[in-house]
Amino acid sequence: MLEVEGLTVRYGSIAALRGATLSVGSGEVVGLIGPNGAGKTTMLSSIAGLLSPAEGRVTLEGQDITGRSPEQLLRSGVALVPEHRRIFADLTVEENLRIGGVTVPAAKRAELLDEMAERFAVLREKWDVPAGYLSGGEAQQLAIGRALMAAPRLLMMDEPSLGLAPVLVDLVFELIGTLRDQGRTLLVVEQNAARMLEVSDRAYVLRSGEVVASGTGQQLSQRDDLFDTFVGSVVAPVEGSPVTGAHAPHGSGGGAA
């Protein structure tokens, strides 16, 4: 569905992405992991139209979408749940969801609102509450629900578990699992590499703006070199992995991003 070929993004003279290439198939959940400053958020921001790549190409189902504006990309079916959620604190829960559906026709928007009310019970209870009053977990659900209101074909999430308590991290990964089971196509940047590898079909490891490894969660989890060099403390050994040692447990929510 999504093909990113040789993407290079520069901040002035510094290259945050250097010819990065990845793909996301329809119905796949793909993780993007790596240490701080690896270029993960830059990758998502470039795909979402927030940054203009210096080189490279992004295609969605064969259609070149490189350099399109966020509005155009959303209309093409690419939605992003941004880092730190960035919900509109002064707008109510319902208004936040409604603005997420600004690109869809009114009748479809009403249908999607009903769907979100059904999917997120905790949001339904706080429908008319300003979103600034939500807890971190509720706000994350709202951010995901808001992106789903655009009826995207590809949903991208940037650090969905960042800053959440372990119990809420579980909730977020459960939600990603549910979306995967529903056949949604997801590209997720996540600091919590171990948990991400568990829920993703495939993952890419970014380091210094380059894709240095890719594979299934099981394959990547078993690579000691990635463990020590790129991902560090956030990757905990998954069951069956030969790797053991002083790494953070599942759901720690801390470590490198």
């Binding site: 960035r86 509109f88 002064d90 707008l91 208004e95 690109t103 808001r146 655009a150």
Partner: protein, 295 residues
Amino acid sequence: MTELAQNLIDGLGRGSIYALLALGVAVVFGVMHLLNFAHGELITVGGYVALWTLGAGWSWYIVTPLIVLSAVLTSLAIERVAFSRVRGSSDFTLLLTSFGVHFVISAIFLLYVSASVKPFDRPSWVTNTYSVGPLNIEVYDTAVIAVTAITLIGTTLLLQRTMFGLSLRAAAADFDTARLMGVRSDTVIRGAFALSGLLAGIAGVFWLMRAGSISPSAGITPMLKGVLAALIGGLGSLRGAVIGGLVLGLAEVLLRSRLPDSVASLTEGVVFLLIALLFIFRPQGLVTVKHAVRV
């Protein structure tokens, strides 16, 4: 007590116009972080429209919508010609641009119309009054308060009930995230300028009815009042702008009636002193804005 009630009505009348002007300033500031010092020029343009159309024998019933329309179109034109070219620039650049627009429009009327103050006929009912018990109420104040109330209700419905209003509020809170949600920046910014022009046009109708004259520099005072009221209320807050306008209007009228005759002419100075004191203790204005993010 009667005098106080009289002052409150007068103050509300004056404050209502300031509230409309301030709301227009705040709407644009919210989406662009632009403190528009050219806002008063919308009234200047409306004033010349009134001068020419009334001079041609048209009635105020026809001139009124023309003034409002001219303010909306001027606001959109200013955005298109000047502000769209500096979108995303520093606050200082935006501020300088707005000063530039103000001086250019003033200069156009100065060069091509006249430097002198040009009078026009005011509606006959502007100075009429009616009594409610001991109170002597101006028809003009009643009309201003009623129209402002209707305009504010309409604006509130627009902002609360429509996707445009929701987009505008979201953009005012966090422009980049609003764009990420699919809000079209052009639509929301032009919509904000159109709304700002509409509010200035409505305020301008009453301002001009009272003034009964126009000059190239006529926009300065309403601009100052609008900007000041928006600052008092808390720049970026729409609710604050309305509150700021009403507070400014009431403060002016109450001070003028309470100050001794010998210093009554210093009312404006005293108002500015009070505003300075307010900013010392509440630099953010009366209403705190948490999420004003520039474009």
